[in-house]
Symmetry: none
Subunit: 222 residues, 2 copies
DNA sequence: TTGCCCAACAGGATTTTTCCTGTTTACAGA
DNA sequence: TCTGTAAACAGGAAAAATCCTGTTGGGCAA
């Protein structure tokens, strides 16, 4: 079996040990795979990569400190829409992160606990510009992605975001209601809406999501 | 330069992609390194490994779902104290986790963002039974480890820390009680103790403090 | 032994959170 | 003008969290 075309890959991951290992793994999958560039985060990649044409695709970790995978994918979608992005996730099972990846323009994603063979098939499909998602999306969330094109509604409106910030505090809902000049019942409505949208089961769960996804800034909290 | 003695290594990590890559990386470091066994978590390792004498050392990821690195190291410290454990951490910067590793009996730890050369030197030192910690421990911290038996009025004890971790989730206190095999009333006692100690007014407040002060690691939360 | 301390645990009250099913009002579009 | 929709709001109940005051039982020092 001949594997004709060389696939030139860039790997972006902040964990050097993983990155180096991954590169060796990729090279062992096929002689036609060449990792020609590596970076430790999105910013590092954008600042040092100058020849985008040489790249067939890019493999990028979602969880990175400086400029994470979502942000890099978004930046690439604007400047180099033809460069396919394959995302790697550590805990990629939650639908929100999948949504966000799709919105950021990634062509596919893989959990880090997959077998090398799956990586190979993902590289094959994504490098040729085909989508590769190994998890089905619920209709509701899929709808959220698709109908987003008219830029009508982002994740939250202003009031919801304000509520979310106040949630990340020791305030009770009643106190939040006072601060926002709303009825506690309205606040309860916001709560229910966000719980459903993000599949949170409790206020603590919502707060954790808000922090993890950087919807709120930890340093700006009281 | 000759590298005489073969070092037989077991690798335990739940992320298959990382594990396979790491193994290739290890083999590329030296011909005398042989990865002779791999497992996806602590439980998997203990149940399938039958010949401990063949192993020179074990490399284990700290963050694993079923039986994590701390727990595996503790179990090994009891049954096979001569087997050196090298721990790998994703975000090993917080002191609490270093404390916990030392208490669990690991011989050394590495952050996953190190260079392969550092891995090599860690393998060399740890496999020969010497400690390898790449980060200086603050005097206070070191004191905490050493004088742990006497003046143990530090921030938390082990159970409190475990409770705190579980607090940073969507689990109810009842579910936390089940996980820790304690009465919900005892859990309520932990809660009250931590609330008072850190002047938290609610669980959300406690969770925020835990994250801000890095008592728990955001990325290793479920 | 005896007294002391502490972790584990209980009962019970109160507040807060969570959930469910509604109603009213404003306002944009057919 | 009629209609649909979204935001604001309510009542009420169940579950969970919070708070307070205890008890018990085992280890340990005097």
């Amino acid at each position: 079996m001949m594997e004709a075309k060389t696939i030139n890959i860039a790997v972006v991951d902040d964990h050097q040990l993983f990155r180096k290992g991954l590169i060796k793994l990729i090279h062992s999958l096929s002689d036609s795979y060449k990792v020609v560039f590596e970076a430790s985060n999105g910013e590092d990649f954008l600042s040092r990569m100058d020849n985008f044409d040489q790249l067939t695709m890019i493999i990028v970790d979602i969880d990175m400190p400086v400029m994470n995978g979502y942000e890099l994918a978004e930046a690439l979608m604007k400047k180099h829409p033809d460069l396919p992005v394959l995302a790697l996730t550590m805990h990629g099972d939650n639908e929100m992160s999948i949504i966000r990846m799709i919105k950021s323009g990634v062509k596919g994603y893989l959990s880090k606990d997959i077998e090398p063979d799956e990586l190979k098939s993902a590289i094959e499909t994504v490098s040729s510009g085909v989508f590769h998602f190994n998890q089905a999306l619920s209709g509701k969330l899929l709808n959220m992605v698709i109908t987003d094109n008219e830029s009508k509604k982002e994740l939250f409106n202003d009031r919801e975001l304000e509520f979310l910030r106040l949630c990340c505090s020791e305030l009770t809902y009643k106190e939040i209601a006072d601060k926002m000049f709303l009825s506690p019942k309205t606040i309860d409505g916001y709560r229910a809406a966000l719980f459903e949208r993000f599949e949170a089961k409790s206020r603590v769960g919502l707060v954790l999501l808000a922090i993890k996804n950087r919807w709120v800034n930890l340093n700006e909290l009281p």
